[in-house]
């Protein structure tokens, strides 16, 4: 196996970048999932232990981290639907670029709904 691939299949543009984004978000979500099962497992230790750890999720820095996590999940979810449409819909490959912009649009709308609500809770406003 060559150390550095000679030539590349990566073509850039929407197709490749959505694939990269899908990988990166999936990778990040997986490691959060491992941590999240561990922190939830503390309910089995004691109410105090669980409340102490979940308390750290409420400080502003973690709150911003949660916003990033939700952004990663929403993008991965909507792009996953797009991947399925490319795979199973007969016109999927023809419209994959348009569908990416639909995904980005839905992502912006979802985050526009989620962020004020979540950041309002985290930063104690309204």
């Amino acid at each position: 196996m060559p150390e550095a691939p000679a030539g590349t299949l990566y073509r850039g543009r929407e197709g490749m970048w959505s694939w990269v984004a899908h990988r990166v978000t999936g990778f990040l979500i997986f490691f959060f999932l491992l941590v999240h099962v561990l922190d939830t497992a503390l309910v089995r230790v004691s109410p105090e232990a669980y409340n102490a750890v979940i308390g750290t999720y409420k400080n502003p820095i973690m709150g911003i981290g949660e916003a990033g996590l939700v952004a990663a999940i929403v993008l991965h979810a909507f792009n996953g639907i797009r991947v399925m449409l490319v795979d199973f819909w007969s016109k999927g490959t023809r419209y994959h670029r348009v569908m990416l912009w639909v995904v980005v649009g839905l992502f912006v709308v979802t985050m526009a709904f989620f962020l004020p609500r979540h950041l309002g809770n985290v930063f104690g406003g309204e």
């Binding site: 004691s46 669980y50 996953g80």
Partner: protein, 151 residues
Amino acid sequence: MTTTTIAAPRSGPPRRGRTAGRSNYELYAWVFMRASGVLLLVLIFGHLFMNLIAGDGITAVDFGFVAGKWASPLWQVWDLLMLWLAMIHGTNGIRTIINDYAERTGTRVVLKTALYLAFTVTVVLGTLVIFTFDPCPAGAPADLLPSFCTV
């Protein structure tokens, strides 16, 4: 004087192994990613709505909140399904990434061993927590417990 016999090219018995032992494993993994992906979208969006958007969002999450949710079989099944599907979906995704980027066989073996170990520990731990959870542990301060724990 001996004659060396050389078999005519491409005339041997059909090769076993690589082609004969091929399974549809990768196809099933591919189908699973799509089927579980749809379910996870519903399960995780529901989870995020309940825990981050409804009521006071993250600020309301504490032991009493979790105990209140798991008092209902719906949320027990919801979280159990989410745990298993997300862990299998995520583990398969990381397996794909390892196969793509770890070029040396030894590296792949080490990384995948760590991955499957993390999978097993996380799924077993999470499943045990959901099934053995005690919403009203003895001796805990009453103000930390859900309201149905009146002693």
